[in-house]
Symmetry: C2
Subunit: 197 residues, 2 copies
DNA sequence: TAAAAGTCTTAAACTAGTTCATTTTTTTTC
DNA sequence: GAAAAAAAATGAACTAGTTTAAGACTTTTA
């Protein structure tokens, strides 16, 4: 069958871990919602109960919390071919502490909690898909949680640049500072220093 | 059927997410290896390819790396009813960067990579078990990776104490410092300060 | 396309956390 | 249960990263 470009991208993402029949592909696609969000608009805000998990077709978004002083802490940047959302609120149905804002005009496919549950009942293979997806995410978050406490800010910056060169060029230095966990002023100093060397 | 205490603990851990028939329980148990490790002994060392994922029946272990200066960075403390290991090395079959050392005499059940793969083929329900297990771990690591970059050392200490009171009392201040990401000297200062307040 | 708003840079004064050195206390070992 | 080893406490000098403030540069908006 002939699929839309957006669905092709998603199916190709899924086919990394499981093989679906045509029927299963169509069933899966029927469970998804198309979402567009303009630059600077929110996909969700703190206090809301997360309705969807999102697959990014196009664009770039930042997932962040605000601390008591109102300073942002960016948890992740999500770009094409990545999944994002607030898994905790999505699963527990408790209000989220996260904001998700588009830093570019973005197109997403969302799966609602009801359809996510249904998916496992209708196509149990997806248990495997998510087992592997979460396993891989877990491995990278375990590594990241160690970086935060054991590397200096400069080392974390170099790691990020090495691991996500395609993201560095698409975000502001200020947002990168909020991800690395430092002030924009210190981020500026690091970049000046690294470029000089 | 009558199971050993250790197997009962594991089966009860698994039954949080999936129901197994008697036959499946027996099959599962047949895939596990019993392991004992004395206080201060290594369960594994950096450079080795991880052979097992471990479920802790009894005891306490620390999972850590050593940086270029030889300073330890503790990634997790594992106690009864928790799973541990190096998931990355276990999956990729590449040498691990982690050491796992018992801080108390410990008893574990290990599952080898071959049996882990076999488990999914023989009892596909385990895809669901691990999907949920990894999902929950992922949620807590996402939270932790933000703590590392957005909280002060004192706040991280208070968080740890609140979340794992049963672990705090079983480990040394020095190990806690290596987990929090600070020097033992500064850990000592924080504790003095917090107790004074 | 001018004005406004946001981002980046620089610098001086400050604070959280480190390093190094010493002493006291607790735990381990024979 | 004494000796040795490891952990914890304390303090002084240091460094990585913050704060505040101001000016230059860039992007957005009307």
């Amino acid at each position: 069958m002939n699929y839309k470009e957006s669905h092709k991208l998603l199916l190709s993402n899924v086919s990394r871990f499981i093989n679906l029949t045509e029927l299963e592909k169509q069933k899966y696609i029927s469970l998804l919602t198309e979402i567009k969000v303009k630059k600077k608009d929110f996909l969700m805000q703190a206090g809301e109960i997360t309705k969807y998990e999102y697959f990014i077709i196009k664009g770039c978004l930042k997932v962040y919390t605000l601390d008591e002083e109102g300073a942002p802490h960016i948890s992740m940047f999500a770009i094409e071919d990545y999944w994002t959302g607030d898994l905790s609120s999505f699963m527990t149905k408790e209000p989220s502490r996260y904001y998700i804002k588009a830093t570019e005009h973005s197109e997403l496919l969302g799966i609602s909690r009801e359809n996510y549950d249904l998916l496992f009942r209708e196509i149990p293979k997806f248990e495997r898909f998510y087992r592997i997806l979460y396993q891989k995410s877990l491995i990278s978050y375990i590594r990241r949680s160690n970086y935060g406490i054991s590397l200096t800010a400069e080392e974390r910056y170099l790691e990020f640049k090495k691991k996500y060169p395609q993201i560095v060029s698409r975000i502001t230095q200020k947002d990168l500072a909020a991800y690395i966990g430092i002030t924009p002023e210190f981020m500026s100093k690091i970049i000046t220093k690294v470029n000089r060397t």
